[in-house]
Symmetry: C2
DNA sequence: TTGTAGGCGTTATCAT
DNA sequence: ATGATAACGCCTACAA
């Protein structure tokens, strides 16, 4: 006990956290030296027990194998640490069932985390309700749209998608732009799909062909295969997630189709992976850092819940045709 | 307080954790029903304070932007959860200085984690010593070689590298295999470099050209550029990390060099990213799951510290020349 | 400015 | 088989 080191008792508490009461410079110095002499560290469990706060946030997130989510998680980490909070990952297991996700929440609740950061894809009605029942603070990130009664943060996905497709149309003159997108069972519900549509319609073009497949590399591959097998394949493709974009590229290469000469590609998300794909992918990039910071801020500052939206930025690279290819083909 | 719900006191403890003392079936049932009636959850902080254990492991790991480390972290998570432990990430920030990494450790120590999983690249003498001084259990993972007095887990990197280079030599007949590898200041110290050398020498070939660069995509790009600029570039390249392999591919494409026809490539690590690169990368794959499980096991089971090594597996794909290319070039 | 003491929710020991 | 009770380490009135 550090108390024996100096001569004081609860004064050490005052010193450790600029306590509610002032301490004379002299004793304060003595305590501090004793602290790092004895290598004293406040016991977080005891503090948590007393205070009722663990300075810990729970991150509920599946699919960290998607580099976009990895980046998001890292940024959230950084933002949380910045604010003095640690992050414990909500047991993101590969095979997430309803039961397991309930289990995850209960574990985190039991650990007395001060708040929950829930990825949109994990924010089922069930989950949100469970959280509310245990009156836990929470914010949903990567949210495509507001969720009544909950704080949400997300990109302006429609705008991002639109800007990518508009680039294809107005700069490169494509008139037939296909879409590879996920299938959440609600056709047309995805903002990315709307953005793609908007861009085409306001250019007075017909909706291009569309392939629904998983939001994975394999899904992108499969979607592109379907597009290619048509009698009249499109001259450009918008892959609505970077992972799919990578798969699209693979399918195109495998089929001997040149990118961007034969088919141009643009995509959505924008991690490091699509910077070093070949060709490098033109992409509507998510403002990951800003969104992460906003999510943590919303979680930590009291106030009415609302939806916060962030603009996406078009990053132009080779796959749309902007950078000349080497003299290969 | 759940105690008022039933009529008992510490019996609830016995029933919650099959306690050290038996409980009659009748009261046990009464307690259990009270528990989920009141939605009671044991307070982990209090338990930790009393018991001295938090059922939490600290993961000290920089560079999660490398998908190999992401996979490793995920597997460690899974293994830890399996064993009933949560994982809190050791504030992996982008700009890790000595001071910050010390700060990370102290935070984790204060949180009373039951043990530390430290990535080899973060396991500086300083860090290890600090851990020992605070008598914290720890294990170093992704360790290239034993560290006296510490538990370590790592791949048999020399064997993995050798098998990749041997494939190039014996199956595809390459006689001039370049190496792109990191620079840790100790030339020749890396087991991957030794494996590459061994494979060449036992085939009675001369050491190929060698480029040292960062273990990143950009590093691989830069290394490949240097190899290409030589008057006599090699006919094959071993990139000693997957990230570098991706960068090598990019540089080759950009220069209009065909892979694998003009230059073959093999690499090391083996996450999903190199499965969908073009061409897909032949790779010596790390046994991520086994290593993660072993690290957690070593950390949790008492016993003398030792070094545990895991064999790597060669995954053959297109970049070495095994799969015929489409009729493009 | 500093010391004393009570209590946060658990578990474990000691009685009963 | 179960009820009381002390103690884990910290924070914070309150007293000095």
């Amino acid at each position: 006990m550090a108390r024996y080191a100096g001569v004081s008792s609860a004064v050490v508490s005052y010193v450790v956290n600029g306590g509610p009461r002032p301490v004379s410079e002299e004793t304060s110095a003595r305590v501090r030296s004793a602290i790092d002499l004895l290598g004293y560290r406040p016991n977080v469990s005891a503090r948590a027990l007393r205070i009722g706060s663990t300075s810990t946030l729970g991150l509920v997130l599946g699919g960290l194998e998607n580099p976009y989510f990895t980046e998001l998680a890292l940024s959230i980490q950084a933002a949380a640490n910045e604010a003095g909070y640690a992050v414990v990952m909500g047991n993101v297991d590969r095979n997430r069932s309803a039961a397991s996700s309930r289990h995850i929440l209960d574990d985190l609740i039991g650990r007395q985390v001060d708040g929950f950061l829930v990825a949109s894809e994990n924010a089922t009605a069930d989950t949100l309700e469970h959280l509310q029942r245990n009156n836990a603070r929470s914010v949903v990130f990567d949210a495509p749209s507001p969720i009544p009664g909950h704080s949400t943060v997300g990109p302006d996905a429609a705008q991002g998608a639109r800007s990518a497709v508009e680039h294809l149309v107005s700069v490169h003159g494509h008139r037939d732009v296909g879409l590879v997108i996920g299938d959440d069972g609600r056709a047309g519900a995805d903002a990315r799909e709307r953005g793609w549509q908007d861009a085409l319609r306001s250019a007075r073009l017909l909706d291009g062909p569309l392939a629904r497949a998983d939001f994975t590399r394999a899904g992108g591959y499969e979607g592109a295969r379907r597009l290619l097998e048509a009698a009249n394949p499109p001259s450009a493709v918008f892959a609505s997630s970077e992972l799919q974009g990578i798969g699209v590229l693979y399918a195109l290469h495998e089929a001997g189709v040149r990118v961007p000469e034969d088919v141009a590609v643009v995509t959505f998300d924008g991690t490091a992976e699509c910077e070093y794909s070949w060709p490098s992918l033109t992409v509507a990039r998510q403002p990951v850092d800003s969104m992460a910071a906003a999510a943590v801020r919303q979680l930590l500052t009291p106030g009415a819940s609302h939806h916060e939206t962030f603009p996406m930025e078009l990053v132009v690279r080779r796959s749309c045709g902007c950078v000349p290819q080497p003299t290969t083909g």
